[in-house]
């Protein structure tokens, strides 16, 4: 495993929304999906996922229902709601703007000023 980056505050919610946007998942599945889509570059404490999930569900961004997993275990599945989809779009745009701004700021060379 390569060195993993700490998550910035607030980014876990964005990652969860993105992971779920690719299809309904249960909690452990979301964790695996985030690992998969981020190339295992992010350090996430497993339990920390759940307060985030509950928060997003309470805000009406995720909907839940119980089902049976591929391991034949009972598990709660999360799915994006319309509001969740909208939020994901907005946050993605915000993030891209921020990342671009930070990146360009960091990329500046002395002679360019």
């Amino acid at each position: 495993m390569t060195a993993q980056a700490q998550l910035l505050p607030g980014t876990l919610d964005l990652l969860i929304l993105r992971a779920v946007s690719l299809g309904p998942l249960h909690g452990y599945g979301i964790l695996l999906r985030i690992g998969q889509i981020s190339g295992n570059a992010l350090l996430i404490e497993q339990g920390a996922l759940y307060p985030g999930l509950f928060r997003l569900a309470r805000q009406g961004l995720l909907k839940t229902n119980w089902g049976t997993s591929e391991n034949n275990r009972r598990a709660k599945y999360y799915e994006l709601t319309t509001a969740g989809r909208k939020r994901l779009r907005e946050e993605t745009e915000d993030w891209n703007r921020l990342a671009a701004a930070i990146a360009s700021a960091l990329a500046v060379q002395p002679e360019e000023i």
Partner: protein, 882 residues
């Protein structure tokens, strides 16, 4: 606003706590299971895989806690944060907080008191077992609660819908427990009284139906708990003792439980006596007179019987009575009423009055809310900078509103607490208060859980009510504008929510002021109205010769001796004796027939007249003017022809005219009586009554042992009272009597109007106070908003008048508008008043002028400080400031 949603999730978190927790546990464990499966697949043994999975998961308990918080939306933390912040803000402006808390305290306190009255007089049934099924039986079109004893026996035995019907009436008797004879108050009750009501004795035993063996067969007394405590020092040995009741020996059977105060809310008796002994207690017996209606009946409906079924059942009993006793019980009909206030007799006016009071109190609270709403709106505007800053720093509008609401509810809860404390003190006092010193009249209005609940509810609701007033203001706040430019002048909008609130509030206050002025005026007038007698300079002595053991011919003889003896007191101009004092809360009505009527059925009656027995000289002593004919004399005795003096209303109703009445004959009580004199009309039962026909009979022809001596004197009342006491004691030392001025005796008749006027006055005062704070808040807000503009005007040379008009013009316009609306409403509403307060007429120029003056004064008072602030606006300082 998401506030309700998070509240809902907060509530459901609590309600479904275990269920949610179970689900959460399962989800977290499912995660660990999935991870362990993966690790096992990677080659770890199952036990080791599970251990690793748990470690990787992290602090299980911590995350579970965090999940819980997320679920309830951090409700509790945010709530406490809001409360702490709210308290800090309120502490920073103590003046505002004090005004707000006091306003609410008064409004909520008033509501708590009135609700407590409503609760104890109307909502809360009598404190008796199964009080819900207890009803009072009333008769006739006018719902009279009075029935005769023979009718009672028929009703009791012939009905099929009541478990039992009990009869009772209230009375006064002389009780000698070993020391001095003193008069005491009692219920004369049927033998089944306690058993029928389901009351168990506190000590000893009660009397039962089986104790009744004909007239005067049950010389038993059951003491009330209070009387036993005060007069027997709570001595258990009192049971079994013999005491003298009106000089007859009676045995104390037992003591009633402390909570049992009889079957009337207003009247707590000293003891109970069996009704079969009525003759010894009251001096005369009506037990065999079917037309002597003087007892009240209550009974428990049988299980499953509805009131409507019971009325139908009683109808068949009424039909039987009408058929069997056509003379007395013609055209009878029965109805049911709630017991406790003598059925509908007191119940209806009390219910109407208390409901009206409750409405007024509700209006007061509404006015207070409007008042505080505008205060909070003004404050929110003053705090616009703070709010803008918070918005700019990333706070959501929802969060700010929630905080403002928390603040409002905090204020209203504090106000509610203070108001409740005040009202509890007032109610405690009311519960021991005896408005009429000579009668055991007193109402228990102690607050119970319901009252506290209502006060809390009112506090929270009113907090939310005035808390939402500034909502729109906050929602529309533009942080950039405010932070940049200072004050936000909201130009353009001519009429704001605040203006409407103020007008509503002023209107409500004007209604209250009008109502209380009308009531006060009405009372003042009725105090000076024509009673048909002159209470000034007249002293009274109430005596009951029956209590002192007089009977038969010794009664009139003693009465004449008393009159003669009192006439010798220096300064006395006249002495008379009457058996029923007008406006003395006791009366005797009898049906009267024309001389030509032969079939003496009730339906053929010409009038129902007040009957009084008097001695010669009573009219002079009472100050009643004899209009025609002659006064009664001592020669109008048993052997002389039956004569009477009547009043004008009687002459009009029975004879058609005053002239025809003189020398004419009428029939009552199976006697043919000649009219020999005519006197002016008077008030007999209440101040609000319509003119009543009245008959005055010579006491020698219509004897009565319970009487009032009236002494008219031109000397000092105290001195006269002392001489009267001496004189009467010299005649018979064993005679119980009380001496007082007629004016103070009238208090009882005026009690209802006094109480009404007092409560309306208090509410009116509260309304006035609210108007002052409301106008003050509005005026000072408008001045502080426009202080800069006013400064510029002054700098440009504006006159004081113009400045004042600019500063306060709109406030005063609103005041005028609101007062007019309130005055009109108040005039419409005071029609209701005239049924309680005599001569309360809204079309009284003095009242109109009074209301206008009051509102004007209130407006001036409230606008004074803001106005002087506006005039002192210093343009230099103001312009430099920004």
């Amino acid at each position: 606003m998401r506030f309700p949603a998070s509240l809902q999730s907060f509530v459901s978190t609590f309600v479904h706590r275990s269920e949610i927790n179970g689900e959460m546990e399962e989800e977290l464990r499912s995660h660990i299971g999935h991870r362990a499966d993966d690790l096992e697949r990677a080659g770890l043994p199952r036990a080791e895989a599970e251990r690793r999975a748990r470690i990787e998961f992290g602090g299980y308990e911590r995350f579970r806690e965090e999940c819980n918080e997320e679920l309830s939306g951090h409700f509790i933390e945010t709530f406490w944060q809001d409360v702490r912040f709210g308290l800090r803000v309120l502490r920073k402006s103590p003046g505002f907080t004090a005004v707000a808390v006091l306003t609410l305290a008064m409004a909520i306190g008033a509501n708590a008191v009135v609700f407590s009255l409503l609760n104890s007089l109307i909502i809360r049934p009598l404190k008796l077992p199964q009080a819900q099924s207890l009803y009072m039986i009333e008769e006739g079109k006018d719902d009279s609660p009075m029935q005769s004893y023979p009718d009672y026996l028929d009703l009791r035995d012939r009905n099929k819908s009541f478990d039992s019907i009990v009869a009772y009436s209230i009375d006064e008797a002389g009780l000698n427990t070993g020391g001095n004879p003193s008069s005491a108050y009692l219920y004369v009750a049927s033998g089944n009284y306690f058993d029928g009501l389901g009351i168990q004795p506190y000590l000893g035993r009660f009397f039962h139906a089986s104790d009744e063996h004909g007239p005067n067969s049950a010389p038993y007394i059951v003491l009330s708990y209070a009387y036993w405590r005060t007069h027997f020092e709570g001595d258990a040995g009192a049971v079994g003792r013999t005491v003298q009741l009106n000089k007859f020996p009676y045995t104390i059977l037992g003591v009633a439980p402390p909570a049992f105060r009889g079957t009337e809310l207003f009247y707590a008796p000293d003891f109970w006596v069996p009704m079969v002994n009525q003759e010894q207690v009251e001096g005369a017996s009506d037990l065999n007179h079917r037309d002597a209606r003087g007892t009240w009946l209550v009974g428990h409906l049988k299980a499953g019987v509805t009131p409507a079924q019971a009325v139908a059942d009683l109808k068949s009993v009424a039909a039987y009575l009408a058929k069997s006793y056509p003379k007395e019980d013609d055209k009878m009909s029965f109805s049911l009423a709630h017991p406790g206030l003598i059925g509908d007799m007191l119940g209806r006016p009390v219910r109407a009055f208390v409901t009206a009071l409750m409405l007024l109190a509700g209006l007061i609270l509404l006015a207070a809310c409007a008042n505080l709403g505008s205060l909070f709106a003004a404050r929110a505007a003053d705090r616009s900078k703070e709010i803008a800053l918070r918005l700019a720093l990333g706070s959501s509008r929802k969060r700010i509103l929630r905080q403002l609401l928390t603040e409002a509810v905090l204020v209203s809860l504090m106000g509610g607490a203070v108001g409740l404390m005040g009202s509890v003190a007032l109610l405690r006092w009311l519960s021991v208060w005896q408005p009429i010193p000579t009668l055991p009249i007193n109402v228990q209005v102690n607050p119970d859980a319901k009252v506290y609940g209502v006060a809390l509810l009112l506090a929270v609701v009113s907090g939310l009510l005035f808390g939402v007033v500034p909502v729109r203001q906050v929602l529309r706040a533009n942080p950039y504008q405010v932070v940049k430019g200072g004050a936000t002048g909201s130009f353009g909008r001519r009429v704001t929510v605040r203006d409407v609130l103020l007008v509503v509030q002023i209107a409500v206050c004007a209604v209250l002021v009008t109502a209380s002025l009308v009531a006060v005026r009405g009372l003042a007038r009725s105090l000076h109205s024509d009673f048909g007698f002159q209470p000034q300079n007249a002293m009274l002595a109430s005596t009951d010769l029956d209590m002192a053991g007089y009977s038969g011919d010794r009664v009139p003889e003693m009465q004449r001796r008393m009159v003669d003896a009192l006439e010798t007191i220096p300064g006395t101009t006249a002495v008379g004796l009457v058996d029923r004092l007008p406006l003395g809360l006791e009366w005797n009505e009898s049906v009267v027939f024309k001389d030509s009527t032969t079939d003496l059925k009730i339906s053929n009656a010409a009038a129902e007249a007040m009957l009084q027995s008097i001695t010669p000289g009573y009219f002079h002593a009472a100050g009643t003017t004899l209009l025609a004919g002659r006064d009664l004399t001592w020669h109008d005795d048993k052997n002389a022809p039956n004569v009477a003096v009547v009043n004008r209303e009687f002459a009009r109703q029975v004879f058609g005219s005053e002239a025809a009445a003189m020398g004419g004959y009428f029939k009552t009580d199976n006697k043919r009586i000649q009219v020999v004199g005519l006197v002016e009309d008077g008030k007999y039962k209440t101040l609000t009554e319509d003119p009543e026909p009245a008959v005055f009979r010579p006491i020698l022809q219509a004897p009565s042992s319970s009487t009032w001596l009236v002494v008219r004197s031109n000397r000092d009342p105290q001195q006269v009272a002392a001489s009267m006491q001496n004189t009467l004691r010299n005649l018979d030392a064993g005679l119980p009597f009380t001496v007082k001025a007629w004016k103070s005796q009238l208090d009882s008749a005026l009690f209802a109007s006094r109480a009404a006027t007092m409560s309306l006055g208090v509410l009116g005062g509260l309304g006035a106070m609210l108007a002052v704070t409301g106008i003050f808040g509005m005026a000072s807000y408008s001045v502080s908003k426009r202080l800069r503009e006013l400064g510029i005007r002054i700098a440009l040379g504006a006159q004081r008048q113009e400045v004042l008009r600019a500063a306060l013009g709109s406030a005063l316009r609103l005041l005028a508008f609101g007062s007019t609306a309130g005055l009109l409403l108040g005039l419409a509403a005071t029609k209701v008043l005239s049924s309680i307060v005599a001569q309360a007429t809204p079309r009284d120029p003095l009242v109109l002028a009074g209301v206008v003056m009051t509102m004007l004064l209130l407006g001036l008072l409230a606008a004074w400080i803001p106005a002087s602030r506006a005039l002192k606006a210093d343009p230099l300082i103001l312009l430099r400031e920004e």
